[in-house]
């Protein structure tokens, strides 16, 4: 019973959060500097022409009126039409979701496991030379900007060695179909995935390593040792399990940003993902499209938080349903 109530309460909270995010997004976007009508009309337009464009897209109406009609539309599942692409916002977003997830989800999973594996290996000989070396390397990687790493990889593997393509999603000269298309997309995604994964590894590594080191010095470990358990089984059964919570939390929270968090890397690799869609929408003040992407992002962020809370209650029995 308690469990059901908790779920219900959290779901209501989730909806409320998204609703407020929607209103705040609408206001911020509409009050931000930049006039979509003037941008759409072009540099040589007359004032009369700009007014005609403003009227065409209903931008001459007062903000409260537009807010109400936007909210009513969203409640009916209609995110409106993009000013620039003249397509429904939901279609534009839906097209980009799998393309972006291929990069972000894959790289997050790789980073999670690589970080964890490294942490497990080095923490067993904590503060040894190897451990310090890996820690320092991780710190260096952590401070590398993603776009710079991307450009370096393109320079080395794309231009100098010509092993990987520099950009895009497919080979535009001869695009295959079926299995070949899938292979081609996989091939083009390798460098961006490596870039994204590399910059995320240190996060998981650092958290996992520190927790493992901390857990290994807990009293229960000494107790088990004295009771005659082997180090490896203590590690596997207790230490590792207890150390998983923080990295899993970070991973889950990261999932909130899987849709629009890879914009820089998408730009560098010319990858047609959601981040780039958002950037171009912002530059052209495509209000419906910006709001649609923000809405989807606020939903994913809220959902990620929601799942983290649920996960806690499952993984850690001490967390009460409050």
């Amino acid at each position: 019973m308690e469990w059901k109530d908790y779920l219900l309460r959290r779901s209501a909270q989730l909806l409320l959060t998204v609703f407020f995010a929607l209103i705040i997004n609408f206001l911020i976007i509409n009050l931000a500097p930049g006039d979509p009508a003037a941008l759409m009309a072009g540099e040589l337009a007359t004032k009369e022409y700009i007014e005609a464009v403003r009227e065409r897209w209903g931008l001459n109406k007062p903000i409260p009126e537009r807010l109400v009609s936007y909210l009513l539309n969203v409640l009916q599942g209609n995110l409106g039409y993009s000013y620039t692409y003249l397509q429904s916002v939901s279609n534009l977003i839906a097209e980009r979701i799998p393309v972006t997830l291929l990069l972000t989800l894959t790289s997050s999973i790789i980073a999670f496991f690589v970080g964890l594996l490294l942490a497990v290996k080095t923490s067993q000989k904590a503060f040894s030379k190897v451990d310090l070396f890996v820690s320092n390397v991780m710190l260096t990687i952590y401070s590398i900007p993603s776009f710079w790493l991307g450009l370096m990889l393109i320079g080395i593997f794309g231009v100098a060695l010509r092993i990987f393509p520099t950009s895009g999603m497919v080979n535009v000269r001869s695009t295959g179909s079926g299995v070949f298309l899938i292979l081609d997309i996989a091939y083009h995604s390798i460098l961006p995935i490596v870039t994204l994964a590399t910059i995320q590894v240190p996060i998981y590594y650092k958290i996992a390593r520190n927790t493992i080191v901390e857990q290994s010095s807990e009293d229960y470990v000494s107790t088990f040792l004295m009771a005659g358990m082997s180090t490896s089984s203590i590690f596997k059964k207790y230490v590792l399990r207890n150390s998983l919570l923080p990295p899993v939390t970070v991973f889950a929270l990261h999932l909130g940003y899987v849709l629009s968090g890879a914009a820089l890397v998408e730009v560098v690799f010319g990858w047609p993902g959601m981040g780039r869609l958002l950037l171009s929408a912002v530059y052209s003040r495509d209000y419906p499209l910006i709001m649609g992407i923000y809405l989807v992002t606020s939903i994913t962020v809220s959902l990620a938080n929601f799942f983290v809370d649920i996960l806690y209650t499952l993984l850690d029995p001490r967390v009460r349903y409050k």
Partner: protein, 578 residues
């Protein structure tokens, strides 16, 4: 010292690049076949070519559609759908005679009715060319027969043909739009899958990645040489350059960083050509604000700016110092006698001293009103040079006791602050000033939206209005020359740099738009051909050759991951049992 070396290198570059491709192309017969990949920075918006400003769609539309007349690389008016046209002596009636064998890509003939519908819709639905072709000035569009159409204007408009040949004036297929009341109705599939009349047909658009076109075998001016024309979209200039160098593209239409241009030029198999274009960087003063409404101050600032130095420092030497009141790239309209003040710091200082701008204790002048002469330079952050120009201005105006602070804004915010709210001191702007000097009217004159300086000299405005309706060529030229004299006297705006455009492509391609003056529009690849020609190998062999590396590498990685997984699993399970 460094200055002169840079200058020499550029001079050499310009001469080499202007001559070499012609030598290469001569004496070769065009071959059929091949794919040309053009790397460009962004996506088109939709495939209605006349409804929206769409600088990324435009180069694609130029290959998919036709206009009545079009402009070649020198901005000369050349035939397109109309093989000839007559203009009545009063300048009010334009009669166009259309090619009779032109068809839409779905086989329907292109007729005068399409032309009539297109321009009536531009007027009714406020197409993007509405302002510059003066659509409301068109009294009627009469279809004489299926292949003859007559435009009757209310008032003569000298730049009518030039603007018809430019932007937002593509003739569109009436039959694809007739079922929709709005030409931007998102339900109309033709907005995503266009039906044009041009040398290339639409194949696919993968948003954010590429647009693919294929040759139109029934093109009314003859089938193009290439099989396929691909526009590959890469938003980052560095990546675009890498992609070009890695052989993924054949024409680099994303301007690389200036510093990379000499290296590109010395890369074998690559041609870099530059040419002056009718675009300028210019600054404008806020004439609504004291002290910028004082002409003496503006004149002193004009004297204090060394325009050649701006180009060397901010643009690595690529560009020409602006000389007068209009771009020198439109030669007939440019008045070389109406010159901007030449760099002279002593004179600038003297002017300010005499006008009562006294030097303060901190080396910064004060206005006669006693306020500190500290001004803000507002620029948009579209590329590194907009800020770099500001840095140079700051350095140069320091020498005449004026302090400059820089304010960089995203372009939409810049537009709002500078153009709409007039909340600035001096601002940087650029833009295309062709294809006809009538552009000055929509840019700098009284009442023009983009006239952010609020330049309101009535004589200047009258001259441009007059020139706009004057059909006699030399009378019109004189009006523009006079207007430029006033412009450089008033100095509401100071032109800084005449811009240079770069054309970068692979030597194995010939007949590019910029090599085909007088024949095709400045983006059309209708006459472009590949020296390797069509492959004799079967298609699947070509495909495998193109993709072999991809297939091998992906398979190796998949196998590697599986093996690694198996090995670690074994190791782990081995440990547990121990």
């Amino acid at each position: 010292m460094r200055t002169s070396i840079v200058g020499a290198v550029i001079a050499l570059l310009l001469t080499i690049s202007l001559t070499s491709p012609l030598v290469v192309s001569q004496g070769l017969t065009p071959k059929l076949g091949g794919t040309l990949v053009v790397i460009q920075v962004g996506d088109p918006k939709s495939f209605n070519p006349d409804a929206q400003v769409d600088d990324m769609g435009f180069p694609i539309f130029q290959n998919l559609f036709n206009k009545l007349v079009t402009l070649d690389i020198d901005y000369n008016i050349i035939p397109d759908l109309a093989y000839k046209w007559d203009v009545s002596s009063d300048g009010l009636t334009y009669t166009f005679y259309l090619y009779k064998n032109a068809t839409w890509h779905d086989g329907v003939p292109v007729t005068a009715w399409d032309v009539k519908w297109t321009f009536e819709t531009i007027n009714k639905s406020k197409g993007i060319a509405y302002s510059w072709i003066k659509a409301s000035n068109i009294k009627s569009i009469d279809v004489i027969d299926n292949y003859t159409v007559k435009f009757i204007l209310k008032q003569p408009f000298a730049a009518f043909l030039s603007f018809l040949g430019w932007y937002g004036t593509f003739v569109m297929p009436k039959h694809m739009y007739s079922n929709y009341s709005d030409w931007l109705d998102p339900k109309n599939p033709v907005l995503q899958k266009p039906v044009g009349s041009g040398p290339f047909k639409f194949v696919e658009w993968v948003k954010g990645d590429h647009v693919t076109l294929e040759a139109n075998p029934n093109y009314f001016k003859g089938q193009p040489y290439l099989d396929k024309l691909v526009f590959k979209i890469i938003p980052d200039a560095n990546t675009a350059l890498s992609s070009f160098l890695a052989g993924e593209g054949d024409v680099l239409a994303v301007r690389p960083p200036f510093s990379e241009i000499p290296k590109l030029n010395s890369t074998s198999g690559v041609i870099v050509r530059s040419r002056a274009v009718p675009s300028q960087w210019y600054i404008g003063f806020n004439l609504l604000r004291y002290p910028f409404n004082d002409r003496t101050l503006r004149l002193a600032i004009a004297y204090a700016i060394n325009r050649s130095y701006v180009i060397e420092k901010a643009m690595s030497g690529y560009g020409f110092p602006a000389r007068g009141g209009y771009t020198s790239a439109i030669k007939w309209a440019f008045n070389s006698n109406a010159t901007l003040p030449n760099y002279n710091v002593t004179l600038a200082n003297k002017l300010l001293d005499d006008a009562g701008y006294k030097l303060g204790p901190d080396g910064i002048r004060q206005t006669p009103n006693g306020t500190k002469l500290s001004i803000k330079y507002t620029y948009f952050t579209t590329g590194p040079e907009t800020e770099a120009i500001g840095v140079v201005l700051k350095e140069q105006l320091k020498k005449i006791g004026i302090e400059v602070t820089l304010e960089g804004l995203e372009i939409g915010a810049w537009e709002q602050k500078v153009v709409k709210n007039r909340d600035f001191d001096i601002a940087l702007c650029d833009g295309f000033q062709g294809p006809d000097p009538d552009n000055m009217r929509s840019r700098f004159a009284l009442g023009a939206y983009l006239n952010f300086a609020n330049y309101s000299n009535v004589e200047y405005y009258d001259l441009l209005q007059n020139a706009s309706v004057t059909t006699d060529f030399s009378a019109r030229q004189k009006l523009y020359w006079k207007a430029q004299e006033i412009f450089v006297h008033d100095l509401a705006y100071i032109p800084l740099v005449d811009l240079v455009a770069f054309y970068i492509w692979k030597t194995e391609f010939h007949g590019l738009p910029w090599e085909s003056a007088g024949k095709v529009n400045y983006n059309s690849y209708a006459l472009t051909w590949w020296e390797k020609g069509k492959s004799i190998e079967p298609e699947y062999i070509v495909f495998l050759k193109n993709n072999a590396l991809a297939i091998v590498i992906v398979l190796v990685i998949i196998i590697g991951v599986v093996v690694a997984y198996k090995v670690t699993k074994k190791k782990w399970s081995g440990k547990t049992t121990s």
